[in-house]
Amino acid sequence: MKKLRRYLVMGLVALLLVTVMLPFASYATTPYVTYTVNGYGQIRQTQTAYLAYATITKFGEEVSLSAPSDICIASDGHMYIADTGNKRIVEGTLDGELIKVVGEGVLQEPKGVYVLDNGDIYVADRSAEKVFIFNQDGELINEYGKPDSPLYGDEMKFMPIKLVVNDAGIMFVICESNTNGIVEISPTEGGMFLGYFGTNFATTDIMTIIYRAILTDAQRARMISNTPATPTNLAIDSKGLIYTVTLGNKSDTLKRLNIAGTNMIKGQGDTYADAPAAVVAGNHDNVYVADQQGYIFEYNSDGEMLFTFGGPNDDSQRVGLSKMVSGIAIDTEDRIYVLDSDLAQVQIYEPTEFTELMHHALYLYSKGRYTEAKEPLAQVLQMNSMFDYANKAMGRSYFQEENFNQAMYYARLAKDYDGYSDAFWELRNVWLKDNVMTAIILCVLLYVAYKVIHAIDQRNHFLNPIRRTYRRMKKNTFFNNLAYAGYYIRKPADGAYGISAEGHANWLASTFILVVFTIEYIVNKYTCGFLMKTVMEGRYEIASDIGIIVVVMVALTVCTYLVSTINEGEGTVKKIYTFFCYSLLPYVILTPVQYALSHILSQNEIFLTNMLQIVIYAWIVVIAIVGLKEVNNFTAKETVKVIFLTAFTALILALLIFIIYVLWAQLFDFIVAIVGEGVYRLGF
């Protein structure tokens, strides 16, 4: 009982058919949720960004679609659909009125359509292996077949499936199974082949490399060939930038290509569609990607995800869910038109108040009206204070207004490190300008004070009590050992000998260093400068931090001791513990410096702290190894052996703990099951 699908623009057309007016058929609970991504890259739910607005299943009275595969909204405000199954192009208004049908009798398998501002309709016909051009009246005015340039490749077929055309009339054509890239054809000389554009690159992962190395030729031949993926679809924006989406390679999923074919998006790939079907450039430097399954994504010009919504139709027949998306287009009012080839319909979504505010802010911002942009942004943030993209834009707006304090505040909320750094740099600059004289005076004063004190001390030795105290303290074992730790990190070989043979091994001073290390580690981790911070704001896991340090130290000491002992090392637990703790001293000494730096450096100079960090770790490793060697009185060879053995032991220990844990869990489950069964049988 499959009747011809007839058209319907919900609300609008029902209005014509039915006597009762229904102005709000589109207002309803959306059948999908909308997600955004926060500054940390976490996916978060947010207000519905787009609502299902209407569905077009038919143009005019008669024209319905069959397996349509592309949609284009031209500057004349009409939509053009590649009605593949019916071998034609359908031109209609945005509310489903039929304008005309183009290319009947000419087209064999129109898969892609693009319309220029002058009304010329470009059609990519896969079976005809041609690009056809029709004028505004639907007359065929030109056609281009396979380029005869040898550069195109003799063996390569020309099966155009999608295309866009820039202002100069240059065609960018995606051809099926042509992995060289997008075919760029100039309209001059009957279609001059300009070359390949926006080529994707094959990626090779480490497993493939290993496989290739070990497999036989025959096996290698059977591996899936590692050719770059052909882009799935493309779009062009008002500036002539080309967007491509590619199925397969995650990080290449969305590309924004300049005229030279360079990708301007530094994509992470985390928030890209799994199976992208189509892409379209929006009105606010944004870009929309539709996934085959019906998920719609909106990204900003940097490829950061603003929203994702929609989803697959679960046969419950709810408006706004899709079956097989094949095209996407956008009109001047930011309504999204999603072409579904299975349902043979165009689903229209309209932005909500929330999204309109966001777009309005983007528009104002792009026009340099930063102060005005803050108003809609504030409204967006009032609706969802965790919408980090708005926080970021707010920060950037304040920055442009040179309100750097606010800029820094919002950048920090948005986890916008660049924005934060810029604002911080400016603030620091101001501070330096204001305080440079004070600082110089302060330095001079300090120097003078030092000189004066020194001079007085020379004369009447009034600092002697302090010196005596210092000497007395040095006699105290604890302080003596602390001082010895300082000696150890400078001369690890001698120092380790001292630990081993001269009784410098001790629990108290070592533990003291470990405690200081732990405190510094925690303070640094949670309160260092924002740009250096590795944990989320407001997150404190101090107990587990301490736990990890304790466990690692105990495991390291015990394992090293066990391994050393069987390798005839001379170290005792106490000695090994001591030198491990002493080895942490570089961290204890240098981290405060790093900590201070993290608060005064901007993104540009942050490499200094990174370098410092490398120095700290390298130092620790070197003295720990030397210490291990000397404390146990090993040769270099033995030391290497012991290090490997220790690592291995630690691994075994971890495995053992894991096995015991799993067994216990099994036992526990078993007991629970028995008790449960008993309870169930007895029926309490």
Partner: protein, 754 residues
């Protein structure tokens, strides 16, 4: 003397015996004489009634009149077991089978047979689980009819299948009652059972667009499917089980997810009211059908033309038996076998058609009829309707910490009182709040065994003090209690949790950060738990509770080898709410109809529908019914993207607004199960709350306790709601200003008519 005396006594005794015998005999006669009526009137007596004499009414050839009321005549046509209802004033006809004249001849024998049969059955074969469909035209049958005062009682036997059922049809004034008594259903064949059962599937049908009008479906707040020519666009229409899916039978299948992690598709609304309606606006004839019994195991269907056949029809399909999948072993990957329920639904199956004509033959008329029906039958009662803005607060949540969890206090009792104080400064008084996550262990530590507040929000004594003191200020704090869910992590014992019919413990997956899944309590245990908590609350003189869980879930379950149906679950939930609501102030979370009478207010009621493709118009049907009777509160305004429109919908429906706030920043929830709550801070909402409170309170005061008497959409799209007391509210959802009745309403705005 003695003998004389004896004689007199003897005579007296004989007379007495005779009188006694006469009395008994006449009693028996009276009893026997009343038999047919007794069956008809619904008493469960099984003796064979006396067949009606042939010739009085000849039902073999055409429709014959069987009953008449003030406004309607009921006709009956036995071979197809069909009825026809005629409006005496207008002549409008509602027919229950597709007449020969209207048969378009496009359907095959099975479909035509079903279209022309007053009864259609779904059958299931016990061992092979194959299902089949039966109708009177394709299956051998006998029909015996008795004529009653106001209709008929017929016994229909499908002879080849050994299935017999009795149907009673009676015209009671402006109501038509169709009832299948439970006892009348007999299944003699041990292998073939009744699966589904429909009576008068096509009652009030129309062909394509022959008649203007619509079908009302109980989706969300209410929705209409027009009786226009759908041109084959929809392969099927609305088919939804009343009171939601039975999780004891149907496995919850997770839909596809974005990046394998994020669920994007939102569930459609649950059917809260067991009603459906059909309006022929041209003929000015309509009905609202209420599924009066058997509603707990019934699916409402509204099929527009093009869905298999070109007739618009809506009906109730009772599910006598269901099929569940039984895993063959305990392994998670075990294969399953479909298994048929042994026991069928034990309930009468009654659909009451409330007939409407003239001006009443529209959705407003349906709403009024339903409202009166509910009031007359004591299914709702008038509650205190005073306006409150609802400001819910989240108390304590949990996040993972080391091996266990730690509290994330979002709003302490102290902070809650600060919120009230700050709202009071904005002019917002008389706030109604549901305190969520007040209990020891935080929001998801369920079930709540006793009245003990989480220490992170200030402890029990603080909470008690706040509730009692704020009550004096006019702010009512309700304690949120999900009386059904059992957190699988905080409760390891499973002896009291609900097991599905396949004897596997039911677990609801929530994909949370901290807690993954929840069990459901068995109805009895849920009731006991609720009673216990309430007893402990009453000790501290706390009487406000917002009840969730048992208010909107209904399931079958198994326990110790016995099976319990939704009917039993429903009865137990009703009993426990009835017992516990005594002396309590209970507000219910999206309650199903059978609990409406216990609700002093209803929370999170839908403002919209589920956005089905085939729905042509949304109408605030439930609001039209409930406004002026029970206060209803909307879903949270926080998460609405179209705030203005949402606000206007509240104006239109008379629903009160709801907000969800916290004192702390909602980003603190990021590692908790509530991490989908992205916007809660009171700072962001104080002004909005004040504005909503001001405007909606003013409206509520104008309206007072009156019900809605009319709701219409004027030709230009302006929505006009008229209240009993004459107040008219005009709502404009369009982007240009509109004028209606001489009242001009700005774009996306509303106005009160003079």
């Amino acid at each position: 003397m003695v003998s004389k005396k004896h004689k007199r006594v003897k005579i007296l005794a004989v007379i007495l015996v005779i009188v006694l015998i006469a009395a008994i005999i006449s009693g028996v006669f009276i009893y026997l004489g009343s038999q047919p009526e007794r069956i008809v009137s619904g008493n469960h007596v099984h003796s064979q009634p006396k067949p009606a004499t042939k010739g009085v009414v000849d039902a073999k050839n055409d429709y014959v009149q069987v009953a008449e009321s003030d406004n309607y005549i009921l006709y009956y046509y036995e071979p197809r077991f069909s009825i026809k209802l005629e409006n005496k004033q207008t002549g409008a006809i509602l027919e229950s089978t597709v007449s020969d004249e209207k048969n378009d001849g496009k359907s095959n024998a099975d479909w035509t047979g079903a279209m022309q049969s007053g009864i259609t059955l779904g059958l299931i074969e016990k061992t092979t689980k194959t299902s089949d469909k039966l109708n009177l035209n394709t299956a051998k049958n006998t029909i015996t009819t008795w004529y009653t005062d106001n209709g008929i009682y017929a016994e229909v036997t499908f002879t080849d299948y050994g299935i017999t059922l009795g149907v009673e049809v009676s015209l009671e004034g402006d109501q038509l009652v169709v009832r299948v008594p439970d006892e009348s259903i007999q299944e003699e064949n041990e292998n073939v059972w009744i699966y589904t059962l429909c009576v008068f599937q096509y009652f009030g049908y129309t062909y394509l667009d022959e008649q203007d009008g619509y079908m009302l479906i109980p989706d969300g707040n209410g929705a209409l499917i027009y009786l226009d020519d759908k041109e084959g666009r929809y392969a099927s229409g609305f088919t939804t089980q009343i009171y939601g899916t039975d999780v004891g039978i149907t496995d919850l299948v997770p839909g596809s997810t974005l990046w394998d992690d994020y669920d994007t598709v939102v569930d459609s609304n649950t059917v809260l009211a067991p009603v459906f309606g059909m309006a022929h606006t041209e003929d000015q004839q309509a009905y609202l059908a209420v599924v009066e019994s058997g509603d707990e195991r019934c699916t409402i269907e509204a099929q527009p033309n093009g869905a298999r056949v070109d007739y618009n029809r809506c009906f109730a399909r009772f599910l006598e038996r269901d099929v569940y999948s039984q895993p063959l072993s305990n392994s998670a990957t075990a294969s399953t076998t479909p298994t048929v329920e042994l026991e069928r639904l034990r309930s009468d199956l009654t659909v009451r058609y409330l007939l409407l004509s003239g001006d009443e033959a529209d959705y407003m008329g349906m709403a009024k009829a339903y409202r009166n029906y509910l009031l007359d039958n004591g299914l709702i009662s008038r509650q205190n309707l005073s306006y409150n803005t609802r400001v819910d607060v989240l108390g304590s949540e949990r996040e993972a910490f080391l091996m266990g969890t730690t509290a994330v206090p979002m709003t302490t009792v102290e902070q809650l009182r600060d919120i009230y104080a700050s709202l009071r400064r904005e002019g917002v008084t008389n706030v109604l709040s549901v305190y969520r996550g007040w209990q020891d262990g935080g929001l998801y530590d369920t079930p709540i065994a006793k009245y003990k507040a989480d220490s992170s929000i200030g402890g029990t004594s603080d909470l008690t003090k706040a509730i009692l003191e704020e009550a004096e200020q006019g702010n009512t704090i309700y304690l949120y209690n999900d009386a059904l869910s059992v957190n699988t992590k905080t409760n390891s014992s499973t002896y009291n949790v609900m097991k599905k019919l396949n004897k596997r413990t039911f677990e609801k997956d929530v994909h949370g950060q901290v807690y993954d899944s929840f069990y459901y309590l068995m109805p009895k245990n849920a009731g006991e738990g609720l009673a216990e908590l309430i007893a402990s609350m009453k000790q501290d003189n706390i009487k406000n509770m917002a009840l969730d869980g048992i208010t909107n879930n209904l399931f079958s379950y198994s326990f110790k080898g016995n099976y319990y149906s939704r009917t039993e679950t429903m009865d137990m939930f009703v009993d426990s709410v009835e017992e516990t609501s005594n002396g309590m102030n209970m507000i219910l979370e999206t309650p199903n109809q059978y609990l409406w009478k216990y609700a002093s207010a209803m929370l999170d009621m839908p403002l919209d529908s589920s956005d089905y493709l085939y729905v042509d118009e949304e109408v605030p049907f439930l609001s039209l019914v409930l406004k002026g009777i029970v206060p209803t509160y909307s879903d949270y305004v926080n998460f609405e993207a179209n705030k203005t429109e949402n606000f206007l919908k509240m104006v239109e429906s008379g629903m009160y607004p709801s907000f969800y706030v916290t004192a702390e920043d909602s980003s603190k929830l990021i590692y908790t199960n509530s991490n989908n709550l992205y916007s809660l801070e009171i700072e962001n909402y104080r002004a909005t709350i004040a504005q909503y409170d001001r405007e909606l309170r003013a409206l509520a005061e104008l309206v007072g306790t009156s019900t809605i008497s009319d709701h219409e959409i004027l030709d230009n799209g302006l929505v006009k709601v008229t209240y009993e007391n004459g107040v008219r509210i005009y709502v404009n959802y369009t982007n240009s200003s509109l004028t209606g009745d001489g009242v001009t309403v700005d774009a996306m705005s509303y106005k009160v008519g003079e």
